[in-house]
């Protein structure tokens, strides 16, 4: 069995079917669609609560998404652990600052890669919270419930992403 668990990659169809079943399980046992971006709001709120005290919970957005260590928060460390286990079992775990495609296009300047990634992260959180979900919340969980808003969001994730990726790569030459 470790043979299969130790493979570097699985077929995207096997992975997709398993994720679809996992979302169903999550809806049954937790009454929640599987989503990730709320976890970053919780993380930010928890950090702010440490730095600025309990009053941050009175902020309008944190009243809607209370900064607590609950389901929507714990899923994030869960994903880190799960991916760590998977990469250790297959022996592909490696500390890496710059992905190969980035290195081939823009070189090996760590500052440039981290700067662009940081900017990307800011846009990603803004967009996910603006749209009310991310690639998992809208792209998978919302679409499988036939939500029109999720379909519009998912289409826009890819339209914005494709245009930006093509523009970015043309800068690298």
């Amino acid at each position: 069995m470790l043979g299969f668990l130790g493979l570097a990659t699985w077929s995207p169809y096997i992975v997709g079917v398993a994720i679809g079943l996992l979302v169903c399980l999550s809806l049954v046992v937790s009454d929640r669609p599987l989503g990730c971006s709320t976890g970053f709001v919780k993380t930010c709120g928890l950090i702010e609560r440490i730095l600025r005290g309990k009053n941050v919970e009175k902020t309008e957005y944190y009243r809607e998404i209370p900064p607590r260590v609950d389901w929507q928060f714990t899923i994030l460390p869960g994903i880190v652990i799960g991916a760590f286990i998977s990469s250790i079992l297959s022996g592909v775990f490696a500390l890496e600052w710059i992905p190969p495609l980035w290195a081939a296009t823009f070189g090996r300047d760590i500052g440039l890669r981290i700067g662009v990634a940081l900017l990307g992260g800011i846009f990603l959180a803004l967009g996910a919270r603006w749209a009310g979900g991310c690639t998992s919340g809208h792209g998978i969980s919302g679409n499988l419930q036939l939500s029109v808003g999720s379909m519009v969001s998912s289409a826009c994730f890819f339209i914005g992403g494709i245009l930006t990726a093509m523009g970015l790569m043309s800068l690298g030459g």
Binding site: S30, S37, S86, W130, I140, L146, S153
Partner: protein, 187 residues
């Protein structure tokens, strides 16, 4: 019928379930290679269709599973009120971040787990900052742009005035044709 409300209301158990579901999700994302920058950028550059294959097979399976579970009364629909100001504008902003970072909010956590330091020091830090920024903008946005262009129908069956099972059947056929087409074209 099983009453699951007590389980749903038990916050500590739910926090543990969130962790366990996250572990399985992270494991699957890593095995599916979608925690890899090159794979996600390859999707956005339309040279690698792994992300679309994973997403479509997840939606295909989950759509049928959700429908059957809902008929048994085991799940309920969670759909937010949609609007162009929220879903379209937010979606496009998300897309810009998706391409600049090369991970999404779930896969960035998976990338951290496999050792990608750009995901940790760029992605996670940026996402936390972005979430904080959004919390500041939220009072204005929630009364303004997020309300613009609200949809009258929230689900596809409502929008098309069709029965849910028929819509699911048609969607399933479209997805299978799309996936078969990708394989046929050699992606």
């Amino acid at each position: 019928m099983v009453d699951l409300t007590a389980l749903h209301k038990n916050t500590p158990v739910q926090a543990l379930l969130g962790l366990l579901i996250g572990i399985v999700f992270g494991f699957l994302l890593q095995k599916g290679a979608v925690t890899t920058y090159d794979v996600i950028l390859g999707q956005l550059l339309l040279t690698d269709f792994t992300v679309v294959k994973v997403m479509l097979s997840a939606v295909f399976t989950g759509m049928i599973g959700f429908y059957l579970l809902k008929r048994k009364g085991l799940v309920r629909r969670h759909v937010r009120t949609a609007s162009l100001g929220s879903n379209m504008v937010g979606g496009l902003i998300f897309g810009v971040g998706f391409a600049l970072l090369g991970y999404c909010p779930g896969t960035v956590a998976g990338a951290v787990g496999q050792g990608s330091l750009d995901a940790l020091f760029g992605g996670v830090v940026g996402l936390v900052l972005g979430a904080g920024l959004f919390s500041r903008m939220y009072p204005q946005l929630s009364r303004g742009v997020l309300q613009k262009g609200r949809f009258r129908s929230q689900t596809l069956p409502e929008l098309l005035h069709m029965n849910e099972a028929t819509v699911i059947g048609l969607m399933a056929i479209c997805m299978l044709v799309l996936l078969a087409g990708l394989e046929f074209l050699g992606f």
